[in-house]
Amino acid sequence: MLYATPFLAVALTAAAGTIVFGLMGYDGPRAVRDIFVAPLAHPDRWPELLVKAGPLALIATGLSVGFRANVWNIGAEGQYIAGAIAGTGVALATWGLSGAWILPAMCLAGMLGGMAWAAVPAFLRTRFGVSEILTSLMLTYVAVQLLFLLVRGPWKDPEGFNFPQTRMFTPDQTLPAISEGSLIHLGIPIALLVACIAWLLLARTVAGYEVKVVGLAPAAARHGGFSERRTIWLTLLGAGGLAGLAGIFEAAGPFGQLTPQFPGGYGYTAIIVAFLGRLHPVGIILAALVLAVTHVGGELAQTGVGLPQAATGMFQAMLLFFLLATDVLIRFRPVLARPARARAAA
């Protein structure tokens, strides 16, 4: 059941989507087909799927470790933006220089930026007991404004006709494509690799064990001498670092600069990815692909049946609703009525 319910949730979402979009006056079946199936049916769209799935998997991997420990960092979007800002800072400071060291320096700065942003909720939670849920989210709004401030002010491209955006990064500051002319940049394989490493750390190290115990049985963890404080710092800094890395990958990859359009909601979507992937790295990679499909599919449905862009967000939230709803099947064994109805609906 643990691994069956995500598939059930996807099926239920497709069914409910057909009905809801139909009721709203769109071509329901076609809309759902566009969102869920069409991106997979077009091989020329596959690289785009990977480009979208990479940052989602990276951020969700970090979040999932925290969620396992009951650390509710919901401000990954802010950490993602902070990472992009810090990395871009290095890029602008090294403008005109060249060398292979620049890109790694940017990535390091990105990670540190994300970690710094996540360190605030970690500090406030461990020092004063302030809920990390609210502080991490508030900081997202602050990060967005900071981005606006920078691209409209000190970081505005002096040759950019007064548009609010930074200079384009130089080739030395841009993630290379994995092959000539490909959409897929080096950040994507790195993101997948990092997800696998995170799984190893969680499954095979004492720190990983600690995180799991603190989440599952806080009392036992305290009795065993595991530090809740350390777990909070570890999970928040880890998640912040990965979100920051995803941010600078996105800035130095598809964007190639910072613009006010940079915050695209990956940090929020990654929360859905983490849950759909069962907080497990392999599941998260699959879930990131599913969410990437709905993202690309949402664009197809926009041109195909005129569904507004926002429908994608609603669709993705429905996915999480159905996942949380079907989770009841894991904790309870239903007798007769409920599973029969659930199957009929799917």
């Binding site: 007991g129 967000g313 009841v328």
Partner: protein, 307 residues
């Protein structure tokens, strides 16, 4: 400062505070019953869009308010069905509700972007509010008074009535309340629904009065500030009122500073202020150890399944 400017400042504070007060009052009741609904922002957005759509279609802002209450109610019932019916994780479900609200409201609102409506407007006849000083007292729309009145009613109801006591019991110890025979899940569903109705109204206040129009993400994170305010108020309605008006003042300051072309701080910094202030305030009230943790309802956020 001239009288006119003072009056305008005071009135803007009251109006900026009203949606936060409404939303946080609803959330306070839900949390007092032991349910942490992080979907306030989503319910507010649904309320804002259904209210605006109904007002645009019928031409009546008051019918818009009704629609907003209904929209908020239905959205909160999704949350109740998942967390109370199927005992899903409350934090995750609340987040999903907000993501859902952002998407669904933009989808419903798409045909209404750019349309204008008749705003709610002052409740009392012009004669009462002719003088600027009287206007500070009598010049508001229905919701400003409703929010203040409801705060008093909720404070009294929670403290002095039997159903209020039952609600608090359910939030403090679900198993004991269940053992005595109180319907824990029914009480919680009612509390969540009340929160949904108020969040719907709070959202509609943006689209029907403050900025009478529809735009995506119209409520701009105020739902999260409402959530923080409940913690700030240590789950006490009177403090909620003070906190909401304090935040209203901070936001009005931002607005006036922007309008006056306040040169010292860039507008982006001013826009950060409410969020930074929230973090600061949450920290300050937590400095004395044990304060927040003892004030919070003991069963907040925990699933309960009667068996």
């Amino acid at each position: 400062m001239s009288t006119a400017l003072l009056v305008s400042f005071a009135m803007t504070v009251a109006m900026a505070s009203t949606p936060i007060l409404l939303a946080s009052l609803g959330e306070l009741v839900a949390e007092k019953a032991g349910v942490l609904n992080l979907g306030v922002e989503g319910m507010m957005l649904i309320g804002a869009v259904t209210g605006f759509a109904a007002a645009a279609l019928t031409g009546s802002a008051y019918l818009g308010l009704l629609a907003a209450m209904l929209g908020g109610l239905l959205t909160s019932l999704i949350f109740a069905a998942l967390t109370l019916g199927l005992s899903a994780n409350q934090v995750a479900t609340g987040l999903a509700l907000t993501i859902f609200g952002v998407g669904a409201s933009a989808l419903i609102g798409a045909p209404f972007v750019g349309r204008t409506i008749e705003r709610l407007g002052p409740l009392l006849p012009q004669a009462l509010a002719g003088h600027p000083v009287l206007r500070v007292l009598f010049g508001y729309d229905l919701l400003v008074y409703l929010a203040l009145g409801l705060t008093a009613v909720v404070a009294w109801w929670l403290r002095y009535t039997r159903p209020g006591l039952v609600l608090r019991a359910v939030g403090e110890s679900d198993t004991s309340a269940h053992a005595i025979g109180y319907p824990v899940l029914a009480v919680r569903t009612g509390a969540v629904a009340f929160g949904g109705v108020l969040a719907g109204l709070a959202g509609a206040y943006f689209s029907l009065e403050l900025t009478p129009m529809w735009a995506d993400r119209l409520t701009a994170g105020r739902g999260w500030i409402a959530l923080a305010l409940v913690v700030f108020a240590s789950w006490r309605p009177a403090r909620l009122l003070a906190g909401a008006y304090l935040f209203g003042a901070v936001m009005t300051f931002e607005l006036h500073a922007k309008a006056a072309g306040f040169a010292l701080l860039p507008p982006e910094i001013l826009a950060m202020l409410p969020y930074l202030a929230t973090i600061l305030v949450l920290t300050l009230i937590s400095v004395r150890p044990g304060r927040v943790s003892t004030a919070a309802p003991a069963c907040l956020g925990k699933a309960f399944s009667p068996a």
